[in-house]
């Protein structure tokens, strides 16, 4: 539990440490991660890949670590209010999130609060497996964005709160409903124009948590928090 307090402290520090810069007008580009400001009706979407590295303690030699198709989008309902969604898909393991957020900008610095509902599911029907799994979760987050000239840097802190899951194996099925704080994730991302009108996002995401949906196929039973590093890259359409 002391780990949770440490993470909450870090979240607070990263949320309050705003650079005191002169006001500047952000790009009119609609980004999927950088939290604003935007006008009502602005819409951004990106497509790319992400991968979460499963620690050797869980993956051992046998678990394939596949990149997932990574689609992100955001639509601004008002100048401050937006809905956002993300889909990570690779058949074996998939997650879709949908949520709502509120953003406020202080010149080149923007801050957003959001909350997403997550639904994950996976299928394993190859040799030795006749298994499926699905689960739901809640993911509240705080996002800090800083514009450095043409570079848009985003730091996002998420709390990971799985509500429960159901696993099917052959003809049997086991369900569990046990909402609890199961970890945090920190994302540092950059969105920038790499060449003329071609915008990319890339970054790292570090999850410190119980083994969550990414490891369902390993049926990990560890009851301890573990570091899961991840990387992503995408092209903003």
């Amino acid at each position: 539990m002391h780990n949770s307090k440490w993470m909450l402290g870090l979240l607070l520090v990263t949320s309050l440490n705003f650079p005191d810069e002169a006001l500047s007008q952000n790009s009119s580009r609609t980004f999927v991660l950088f939290p604003g400001p935007q006008s009502a009706g602005a819409f951004g979407v990106s497509t790319g890949f992400s991968i979460t590295l499963i620690p050797r303690a869980i993956a051992e030699e046998s678990l394939l670590q596949l990149p997932l198709i990574d689609i992100r989008s955001r639509y601004w309902l008002t100048d401050n209010l937006f809905v956002l969604g993300q889909a990570n898909i690779v058949y074996l393991t998939n997650q879709v999130t949908l949520g709502i957020g509120w953003s406020y900008s202080f010149g080149s610095v923007s801050l957003a609060l959001s909350d997403e509902a997550g639904y994950w599911f996976g299928f394993a029907d190859f040799q030795g497996f006749e298994s499926t799994a699905m689960g739901i979760s809640n993911i509240p987050s705080v996002t800090l964005g800083v514009e450095f000239e043409e570079i848009f840097v985003t730091l996002r802190t998420e709390a990971l709160i799985p509500f429960g899951q159901r696993t099917t194996f052959g003809t049997a099925s086991v369900g569990r409903f046990n909402p609890k704080l199961a970890g945090f994730a920190f994302t540092l991302a950059v969105e920038e124009e790499l060449w003329k009108n071609n915008y990319f996002l890339y970054g790292v995401r570090v999850q410190y948590s119980l083994p969550l949906y990414q490891t369902w196929l390993a049926f990990s039973s560890f009851n301890r928090w573990i570091v899961f590093p991840g990387f992503f890259v995408g092209y903003e359409l």
């Binding site: 050797r56 051992e60 030699e61 194996f169 052959g170 049997a172 890339y202």
Partner: protein, 412 residues
């Protein structure tokens, strides 16, 4: 350029910080009382076994624990926090004393524990092998980490274990448990085989590979890697190394030597009461030499009055072919992971399906009707274990957490 480098640098930092946690082995050291005690008789041990209720440690261990002797260990299995106690015991006059450690199997919490049965609470009769005239009460203390136990705990005998009409095997994966669970002995080591009974197992699964010079050793992965071994030059396929090279260059994670299969079987027969060994064949070329060792150590077991089954694992069709090609396969009991048709073809004594295929009651029943047993692998979650105990009546299960299966099975 600097802005582009920021992300990889951060990633490198994060990956470098993922340090490995450890759990140190616990003991009472000079404060131990076990050295002053005399051994308990088998009758006394049997009369201590049963279901106990807990007062004083409910938050840690729940309200009910199962007490079961396995070899030299009196183990307690709890339904809360996947907790277990692994204790050694003896008698001091008319008082029985037990001490050892407790742990939550699935995380890192652990501590020391000492219990006693006083003379007036059953100790007098039990120390003489008699049936106690009063309900047995164990009183003691438990601690956190390596600190001396100070938290009071009381265990009251509630009922004996339910008699069973057939045996059941709790089979510890990789000799007793995985390195990732941070046990004080490495997976597939001689030490963890001796520890397995304390964790609740009455059988073990060990992984067999061949060195370049044809020595059967026990080791799980195809490659030498930091998950399993220490050693500056320990990289690449283990099959590329001679046995002498392995002994010179590498040790297991807790500094033990990589054991030969012969050393592992000698340990099982001479230093434990384990009754089943699943020889999980990772190198199919090893089958002929493993059959020879199987015969040799079954003879040793018979010569010292030990009953133990050594089962040749058949995980693939190639392994079945190699097994059937060996002229002595008819007298070499096997355990087959494939479909029931392959089990029949190999005439394996045990069918071992993956639990992820489901309970498969019909096939389990077919196997039972043919006089074969069924062991599912590798079940770790209590909720899944209950499904298999309820729905398919297997003869055993392989697990990384023997204490969880032991609780779920014996508490019934």
């Amino acid at each position: 350029m600097m802005k582009i480098l920021t992300i990889p640098l951060l990633a490198f930092t994060v990956l470098s910080c993922a340090g490995e946690q450890t759990v140190s082995p616990l003991d009472f050291g000079n404060a131990s009382l076990i050295g002053q005690t005399t051994a308990l008789s088998d009758t006394t041990k049997t009369r201590i076994e049963g279901i106990y209720t807990i007062e004083g440690g409910e938050e840690n261990f729940g309200r009910t624990v199962v007490a079961k002797w396995n070899g030299k260990f009196l183990s307690f299995f709890a339904g809360t926090n996947s907790a277990y106690f692994a204790l050694q015991g003896g008698k001091l006059d008319s008082t029985l004393v037990f001490e050892g450690s407790w742990r939550y199997a699935q995380d890192l919490n652990t501590g020391l524990l000492r219990l006693r049965i006083d003379a007036q609470e059953g100790g007098r009769e039990l120390s003489q092998g008699m049936i106690p005239s009063v309900p047995v009460v164990m009183r003691g203390t438990f601690g956190d980490g390596s600190s001396q136990p100070a938290n009071p705990i009381v265990l009251r005998f509630a009922r004996p274990l339910t008699p069973r009409n057939r045996p059941f095997w709790v089979i510890a994966h990789r000799g007793g448990g995985r390195n990732s669970d941070l046990l004080p002995e490495s997976e597939n080591s001689l030490g963890i085989i001796q520890m397995a009974e304390g964790l609740g197992a009455n059988g073990v699964e060990i992984d067999v590979r061949l060195t370049r010079d044809g020595i059967p050793i026990i080791y799980h992965d195809e490659n030498l890697n930091p998950r399993l071994v220490k050693g500056e030059f320990c990289i690449g396929p283990i099959a590329n190394y001679t046995f002498a090279h392995l002994r010179t260059l590498c040790t297991l994670k807790n500094n033990e030597q990589i054991p030969t299969l012969a050393e592992a079987l000698e340990t099982v027969v001479m230093k434990t009461s384990l009754s089943v060994v699943w020889l999980d064949i990772k190198s199919e070329e090893a089958i002929a030499s493993v059959i020879q060792l199987q015969r040799q150590y079954l003879q040793l077991a018979a010569s010292v009055g030990r009953t133990v089954e050594l089962l040749i694992g058949l995980p693939s069709l190639n392994a079945v072919e190699k097994y059937l090609a060996d002229s002595s396969h008819g007298t070499a009991p096997a355990i087959c992971e494939l479909d029931v048709a392959d089990v029949r073809r190999a005439n394996a004594a045990v069918w071992a399906p993956a639990w992820t295929l489901g309970p498969m009651l019909q096939k389990v029943t077919e196997m039972h009707n043919e006089g074969r047993r069924v062991f599912f692998w590798t079940l770790d979650g209590a909720e899944f274990i209950k499904v298999f105990l309820d729905q398919s009546m297997p003869d055993g299960m392989v697990t990384n957490y023997p204490s969880i299966i032991a609780y779920e099975y014996y508490v019934r």
